[in-house]
């Protein structure tokens, strides 16, 4: 049987891509192999590790748990784009400054998840940060620098807001 395929239209990082893909190909592989967004990392392919987290239509999603055909018409944002946006750049800078990453393989997913947390909960406790990020596996850090970086970003944003007010 020949490989069943469909053409899909994906808007990735504000740019539209029309690609024909096997039905069985998950979005993470399409982003990486067909479109070159290698900042999307594949760690487990069964939805446990969180490395492939991207934003689909504004909501964080594991791109290994979505087939490309399901994402037809969706707007997708990956770390390559999000890390350069003003809404997340401070978080990225703090991750680097606080050494909240070592091998870096979890980092794109971790940063995108942490950004979503801060969007939902601008003033989290350390426990809330840990709970929210507990779907993102990091084998290198002790998670502490990650929690520190998120807390410092939140504090920095509060301070910036205070200055403006």
């Amino acid at each position: 049987m020949s490989e069943p395929r469909q053409s899909v239209s994906l808007t990735v990082n504000e740019e539209r891509h029309d690609v024909t893909v096997p039905n069985r190909k998950h979005l993470a592989d399409i982003l990486r192999e067909d479109l070159g967004f290698t900042g999307v990392h594949v760690g487990c392919e069964h939805g446990v590790c969180g490395a492939c987290t991207v934003r689909i239509d504004g909501a964080i999603t594991r791109s290994c748990l979505v087939f490309g055909v399901q994402a037809d018409g969706a707007e997708i944002e990956t770390i390559e784009y999000l890390s350069a946006q003003s809404e997340t750049r401070d978080l990225v800078d703090t991750f680097v400054a606080e050494n909240a990453l070592q091998c870096g393989f979890c980092t794109p997913g971790m940063v995108i998840s942490a950004a979503a947390l801060l969007a939902e909960t601008p003033d989290p406790t350390r426990e809330e940060v840990r709970a929210y990020l507990s779907g993102n596996y990091c084998r290198c850090t002790g998670y502490q620098a990650i929690v520190d970086a998120v807390m410092m970003t939140a504090a920095g944003r509060r301070a910036a807001k205070g200055e403006r007010a």
């Binding site: 290698t38 900042g39 392919e45 770390i79 990225v92 393989f105 840990r130 998670y143 502490q144």
Partner: protein, 798 residues
């Protein structure tokens, strides 16, 4: 060498260039490399633990869509040299022959049987399912008892038994009674099988250029030079025609340190097809075929006097290593560390240990961060705590009474390990202060009154870091204990730095840049580090045994000193000064008063473009390579101590981690922030080992933990904040005074948690003797204690 005071940026927490790249999605991990007309490999793996291969029928698979090649043993035999993992210093050690694909017998679930190469991974997997392997199943050897039983099946018939090797160590007579003992306590701990579980699975991409006969292997690996040397031998290629690139590596921890069958097979497939061949292990095959670690059953006896002095310690480690010793390092290291490092920090007159490596029909046991040390630490500290409890001593008291005294160094341990100095007393003092032990104990006592069961555990450890050349080389194993560093100053005065040590996130690159910048009076940003490419960097060890800074940094220091002297020589001539009076600072050559004479970039420029200004005999090379190897000692031993504070729910058996403290002696810290989180990361791996992680097989050798939903790794909410403090003591050699730090976190964490849980369970008379400490383990221990409590308490107490 001119002795310089260490200066900035050494000691500063400089951010990492790689971190910036990674956090913006610009990592260059192996599978990120595109390849034109690239092929993908999938493997047919053994579904059973032991059996004879009758036939492998690949006809249907070869006809499938997209399939380019299907390889079995018959297709590759003669095109590579099989290997044996032995050690020339241990001729009695059994080293059965290992093949890239098995000729006649499978020996563990997940062992590759056949390789399919196709135009996509999905198509390769489709075809792999159409390879029909007819295997006659045989009884598997899947547990320690079976492996030891005299009538058990032989995994390697030519080896005569399932015992790979047996070793003893120490200064006493193994098995003899202890003299000078008021009390002898015996116990046995079981350590579960783990795996390092890096987030990036093993990944590789081989390309062969038949024109130049050059094979390039991109691979997620810690030791590219080692792999280059081994693959050259196995594939019959010149080492100069084999390039191994490990640029960005998504976690390794020892798992990506050795040779796997797939490494050889992708190279063979690339050479056969003339096309790039890629293999990225999926998570299922990672659990089945990656190196595992740490399965031990350790029995120990500790002899103490009433005054709390430990007079004897005996340890017997049964260490099942899987179907073969791991090539090329063998699986000895882990057991060897248990054999030699247990109780290494205690002054014990009569210490003996025995180690037996056993074959089993399971995946191979290799190295995992802190190789053996966590086991050595846990068994030692468990026995010390048991002795303390029996004598009514506080855990810190018995340790203080038995630590090697601070004025007794340098010295040798009873197992022959050279100790330059250990700062155990200072570390313990600092730990007790950091954790405020008195306040913690009073809180613990108060909560016990409310039915809340908390425990405090301490675990002290001695670790070997920065291993030198004396370990593998004399054993006939081509694993380099030396490391090199090449510096190339560009005409602009900027530096390209090519160390042989590699960086999987530790920050080694940055630490080395800091060292080079410090010596040359430059900024970190002026140094560009290019590591992980065997074609451009000097041959060296790579990443193992916490050597990145302790050995690699030393090489960089020496190279930078040479380059500095060269620059000063030229500058001295140009400005009519004695080079010995000049210094490099802030991008300038300065004199003794600090006055700026010229810029480094000007000197570099002259060295490349203005030889007319220099005497003919003046050397002007600004490219320097230096190698460093620890010579004064085989290993650089250092030490640390950890404490855990836990709460055990005695109804459910669940253990919650409330606090964790580490005090470690890493010598000079080049970049404190990198050191601290690296230690914390190690601690979390140890916490996983203590409470969550276990690779499980059933009695037939079937793998039960095949996914990340089964193999439980610690996530952010499973671990507490971890306080890290440092004690700094000197080293035997080297200008920097840096010791290894990468493995300290793992070494003591699980032992501290074990002791904390047992402290919590103490009032119930229960003792946990198994890791991971699952809720089931705790409930079982509590039930056993309740059952035996029908006998009057303290009847069997000393």
């Amino acid at each position: 060498m001119s002795k310089q005071i260490l200066r900035a940026p050494i000691g500063q927490s400089a951010p990492r260039e790689r971190a910036r790249r990674f956090a913006t999605g610009r990592g260059r991990y192996t599978d990120d490399a595109a390849s034109l007309r690239g092929l993908h490999a999938a493997f047919v793996r053994s579904p059973i633990a032991r059996g004879d291969i009758l036939e492998i029928d690949c006809d249907a698979a070869r006809d499938m869509d997209g399939v380019v090649a299907v390889l079995t043993h018959a297709d590759i035999a003669g095109r590579y040299r099989p290997w044996r993992a032995g050690n020339a210093l241990l001729p009695e050690m059994k080293a059965p022959e290992q093949h890239a694909l098995p000729p006649s017998r499978v020996n563990y679930v997940g062992e590759p049987l056949a390789m399919v190469v196709a135009t996509s991974r999905a198509l390769a997997e489709d075809a792999a399912e159409q390879v029909f392997a007819d295997i006659d199943p045989l009884d598997a050897v899947a547990d320690i008892e079976t492996a030891l039983a005299p009538d058990s099946p032989l995994i390697h018939e030519d080896c005569g038994s399932n015992l790979c090797v047996s070793l003893t160590s120490g200064n006493g007579k193994f098995g003899a009674d202890f003299e000078d003992a008021d009390l002898v306590i015996e116990d046995t701990l079981d350590f579960g099988r783990h795996t390092a579980c890096p987030l990036e699975t093993r990944s590789m991409l081989a390309e062969y250029d038949p024109g130049s006969e050059v094979l390039t292997l991109r691979i997620s690996h810690q030791c590219p030079h080692q792999l280059q040397a081994e693959l050259a031998k196995i594939l019959g290629l010149g080492q100069h025609r084999l390039r191994v690139i490990s640029e960005d590596v998504g976690g390794a921890y020892g798992l990506k340190q050795q040779l796997y069958q797939e490494d050889v097979l992708v190279c063979l497939a690339a050479m056969q097809t003339g096309r790039p061949v890629r293999f990225v292990a999926d998570r299922l095959e990672a659990f089945a075929s990656d190196n595992h670690a740490r399965e031990h059953r350790v029995s120990a006896r500790i002899a103490v006097r009433k005054d709390g002095r430990i007079t004897g310690f005996e340890l017997d480690d049964l260490f099942p290593i899987g179907a073969y010793p791991q090539y090329p390092r063998t699986s000895l290291g882990e057991g060897n560390h248990v054999l030699r490092m247990s109780a290494a920090g205690y002054d014990i007159a009569d210490f003996r240990s025995r180690l037996r490596l056993l074959f089993q029909n399971k995946a191979l046991i290799g190295h995992y961060r802190s190789v053996g040390h966590p086991v050595a630490c846990a068994i030692t500290e468990h026995m010390v705590d048991r002795a303390a409890a029996a004598l009514g001593l506080a855990p810190e008291t018995i340790r203080l009474r038995n630590f090697l005294s601070d004025d007794s160094y340098p010295r040798e341990t009873p197992t022959g390990v050279h100790l330059h100095y250990l700062s155990q007393h200072a570390c313990l003092d600092r730990l007790l202060a950091d954790m405020d032990i008195a306040a913690l104990r009073s809180e613990q006592a108060k909560l016990r009154g409310q039915g809340i069961c908390r425990g405090i555990g301490i675990a002290s450890f001695v670790e070997l870091t920065g291993t030198g050349n004396g370990f593998y080389g004399p054993g006939g194993i081509d694993v380099s204990g030396q490391d090199g560093c090449t510096l190339k100053m560009e005409p602009s005065g900027h530096v390209r730095c090519m160390p042989s040590v590699t960086d999987q996130g530790q920050g080694t690159d940055t630490g080395i840049a800091q060292i080079v910048a410090s010596v040359l009076g430059l900024e970190v940003a002026d140094i560009r580090v290019l590591s992980g490419d065997s074609e451009i960097t000097p041959h060296g060890g790579g990443a193992w045994a916490s050597r990145g800074i302790s050995t690699g940094g030393e090489a960089a220091w020496q190279a930078a000193q040479t380059l500095r002297e060269q620059l000063l020589l030229v500058a001295g001539h140009l400005h009519q000064r004695d080079p010995a009076t000049l210094e490099l600072t802030e991008g300038h050559v300065v004199d003794a008063s600090g006055a700026q004479i010229t810029t480094i970039s000007e000197v570099a420029h002259i060295c490349y473009f203005r030889h007319d200004l220099l005497p003919d005999d003046m050397p002007t090379e600004l490219m320097v390579t230096r190698h460093a190897v620890p010579r004064a000692q085989l290993f650089q031993a250092t030490n640390g101590i950890q404490a855990a504070y836990v709460e055990v729910d005695t109804d459910t058996g669940f253990t919650r981690l409330l606090g964790h403290w580490v005090v470690h002696d890493g010598g000079t810290l080049i970049n404190p922030k990198l050191v601290e989180e690296q230690i914390r990361g190690g601690v979390v791996q140890g916490l996983g080992a203590a409470l969550l992680e276990e690779i499980r097989y059933d009695e037939d050798g079937q793998l039960l933990t095949a996914t990340m939903a089964d193999y439980l790794v610690p996530m952010a909410s499973d671990v507490p904040d971890i306080q890290v403090s440092h004690v700094t003591s000197g080293t035997a050699e080297g200008a920097l005074g840096a010791k290894g730090v990468g493995e300290a976190g793992v070494a003591g964490a699980s032992g501290a948690v074990l002791n904390a849980v047992n402290d919590a369970l103490g009032p119930f008379g229960a003792t946990v003797r198994q890791m991971p400490i699952s809720p089931r383990t705790v409930l079982t221990a509590l039930r056993a204690a309740a059952a035996s409590a029908t006998t009057p308490p303290f009847e069997d107490a000393p």
